[in-house]
């Protein structure tokens, strides 16, 4: 049983999705999904613990040996990602039943759980697998279900956003497919471990260079790096609120994982950072993303839009940290990956609670909400402080390591810009605080109450995690640091 954990991680939600369809009753499907997601979370914890103790776990699918068969390969990086995805998924599901009861038609609610579990499968699969083509397959499983989930939003703009995402996402995925094909053409293998050993022999060819460029562009489309972010704001703003919470916390993270995996494990640091001007490119695009995202966020009147733009800015921070190509920088990247999932999960769940009570997330509806929904708004504010990077929250920890990495490289200009970018976050978080706490409620009748417990529980678990991992950084820092070191260590 223990030996089969890597495959169970992926196969349990995959099998559960069609079973959900058979359950027919929404309540049952909901309970079942929570149980499945919990199981996935427990498996991921076991895997992480095992990896930390005894190193890399490999699993051969169907008993076929590695370069021929598909291999699942769990190292510290994957294990961390698996924990992030499955924990956020479980917490979001707790709120899902209440939230979608108002946002999705009754007859479509069961399908929501089916798609949700498929999307979860896709993400876990991308992370768990050690086979380049398998990555593409899981990428499409998660993307196709994501398009459908976004289209479930009750605004007609949700469908349009889903369609735009479909076009962009498919182009991105096909680019990755071309890259994988070119790699296969040169090496005759699809196994990532095997690829990393064979690619250096042919590294000087144009084909490998082209393969890398295709993979990078495809992945950057998926992770919404500025200027390839156009699909993200509308998709996040008009999707059902819980879907936004799930995707904002996990979907872009999975794409960033792919970027790290291909850059460090498959192509190797020396190849990746010398053939392409990756440092300059990602530093500039990351900084541009921080400013474009943050400034756009300031001018939004829809709060879901606002935080969607802030997500683009946060991806910018991760990419800036990545561009330093040092162990400290990569640690900062991974820390922010983990921390940003906690922040955005909490913030978008709080927004889901607001949408549940108010029916929309327009800034104008937030008047006086600090008094009407004290716990939800407090969570939103703490999440916002974490986004800014105030000490005692997780945001501070990742910003701190990011700045350390930038200073270590002597990039003073970038350091100043990152600090300025954080100030922009103060502006957009303050807009919400001002409206929610310092304005009178618009309608005095107290029809707007505190959100139900099914929202408050997951929100405050995440907020507690935000503060806990901001004070006691041993767990997250240790995993991130060891993962970063091993990524640099494996490659020559």
């Amino acid at each position: 049983m223990i030996a089969h954990l890597p495959i169970l991680q992926v196969i349990v939600p995959l099998m559960a999705a069609p079973i959900c369809l058979l359950l027919k009753r929404t309540q049952l499907a909901w309970l079942f999904s929570i149980i499945v997601s919990c199981i996935a979370f427990i498996i991921s914890l076991f895997l992480l613990q095992q990896v930390m103790v005894s190193g890399v776990i490999t699993y051969e699918l169907g008993g076929w040996e590695a370069p021929w068969g598909i291999e699942y390969r769990i190292d510290k990086l994957n294990a961390l990602l698996l924990v992030i995805i499955s924990s956020i998924s479980t917490l979001v599901l707790f709120a899902a039943h209440t939230s979608i009861s108002k946002e999705i038609n009754e007859d479509k609610q069961v399908f929501f759980y089916v798609l949700y579990l498929l999307s979860l499968t896709g993400m876990l699969g991308i992370v768990a697998t050690g086979d380049a083509f398998n990555v593409f397959v899981f990428l499409e499983i998660s993307s196709l279900s994501a398009y459908a989930l976004i289209a479930l939003g009750n605004d007609r703009r949700a469908i349009w956003a889903a369609f735009q995402y479909l076009i962009m996402g498919t182009i991105g995925a096909t680019f990755i497919l071309i890259g994988i094909g070119l790699m296969y053409q040169m090496t005759g293998t699809l196994n990532m471990e095997d690829l990393s050993q064979r690619l250096p022999q042919v590294a000087q060819t144009h084909t490998v260079f082209t393969a890398y460029v295709f993979v990078i562009v495809g992945v950057c489309l998926k992770l919404a790096l500025f200027p390839l972010h156009l699909w993200l704001p509308n998709a996040y703003a008009y999707a059902p609120s819980v879907v936004t919470a799930f995707f904002a916390a996990t979907a872009t993270k999975v794409a960033i994982y792919l970027l790290i995996r291909f850059t460090f494990s498959v192509f190797g640091v020396s190849f990746s950072f010398t053939t392409l001007p990756l440092q300059t490119l990602f530093l500039i695009l990351g900084l541009a993303g921080i400013f474009a995202g943050s400034i756009a966020a300031i001018y939004q009147s829809n709060i879901k839009h606002l935080f969607a733009y802030s997500s683009i800015a946060q991806v910018g921070y991760i990419i800036v940290a990545f561009s330093t190509s040092t162990v400290t920088g990569l640690t900062a990247s991974l820390l922010h990956l983990f921390n940003h999932a906690l922040m955005k999960g909490a913030i978008f769940l709080a927004l889901a609670a607001v949408v549940y009570r108010l029916g929309n997330a327009q800034l104008n509806s937030f008047y006086g909400l600090g008094r009407q929904m004290p716990f939800t708004m407090a969570a939103l504010v703490i999440g916002g402080l974490s986004l800014i990077g105030v000490p005692l929250t997780v945001g501070f920890i990742s910003k701190w390591y990011l700045l350390l990495a930038l200073i270590e490289n002597g990039w003073w200009f970038a350091t100043v810009l990152v600090l300025l970018g954080s100030l922009l976050a103060v502006v957009y978080v303050w807009r919400i605080v001002e409206v929610a706490y310092f304005r009178e409620p618009l309608n005095k009748d107290s029809s707007v109450k505190e959100a139900p417990l099914s929202f408050l529980l997951p929100i405050w678990v995440l907020i507690f995690a935000n503060i806990y991992f901001g004070i006691d950084t041993r767990f997250s820092l240790q995993v991130a640091q060891e993962a970063a070191v091993s990524l640099f260590g494996v490659t020559p």
Binding site: V137, Y147, R156, I159, W160, I171, L177, S365
Partner: protein, 134 residues
């Protein structure tokens, strides 16, 4: 040299045609068509790199000694399935777009969204104004 790589030329030509249609055309059906051509070019790319000169299908008999590589062919079967699902989902979304917007032209849809957005902003401003007065 250039003739020898003619399969790549066809792949690149199809790829560019597909991408161009996706980018340049406002009609959403045409966008889907472009996307399909783009994906198909990648299928052809995979299939053609697996071809071995003089090789046949990988069947185990004594007369045949050279085989084409079957692995990319199998891989691309998966990718074809993915491509079909994407097209199907895209068309399904299109039906709903047509139902709710009454159009499948990108410009039309964006114009309608802009109008709706402006109206919403005005409405909320008005209600705020009234709220403050009260």
């Amino acid at each position: 040299m250039l003739i020898g790589l003619f399969n790549n030329w066809i792949v690149i030509l199809l790829m560019m045609i597909g991408l161009y249609i996706v980018i340049a055309h406002g009609n959403l059906i045409k966008k889907i068509i472009g996307l399909t051509i783009f994906q198909t070019s990648v299928f052809i790319f995979y299939i053609s790199i697996a071809k071995v000169d003089g090789g046949t299908a990988p069947i185990l008999t004594d007369q045949i000694t050279t085989y084409s590589n079957p692995l990319p062919h199998v891989l691309i079967l998966t990718a074809i399935v993915v491509g079909i699902s994407t097209t199907a989902l895209g068309l399904a979304l299109l039906i709903r777009i047509k139902e709710s917007y009454g159009s499948i032209e990108e410009e039309d849809i964006q114009k309608q969204d802009l109008l709706a957005q402006n109206k919403q902003d005005q409405d909320t401003q008005k209600s705020n104004h009234e709220g403050k007065k009260a």
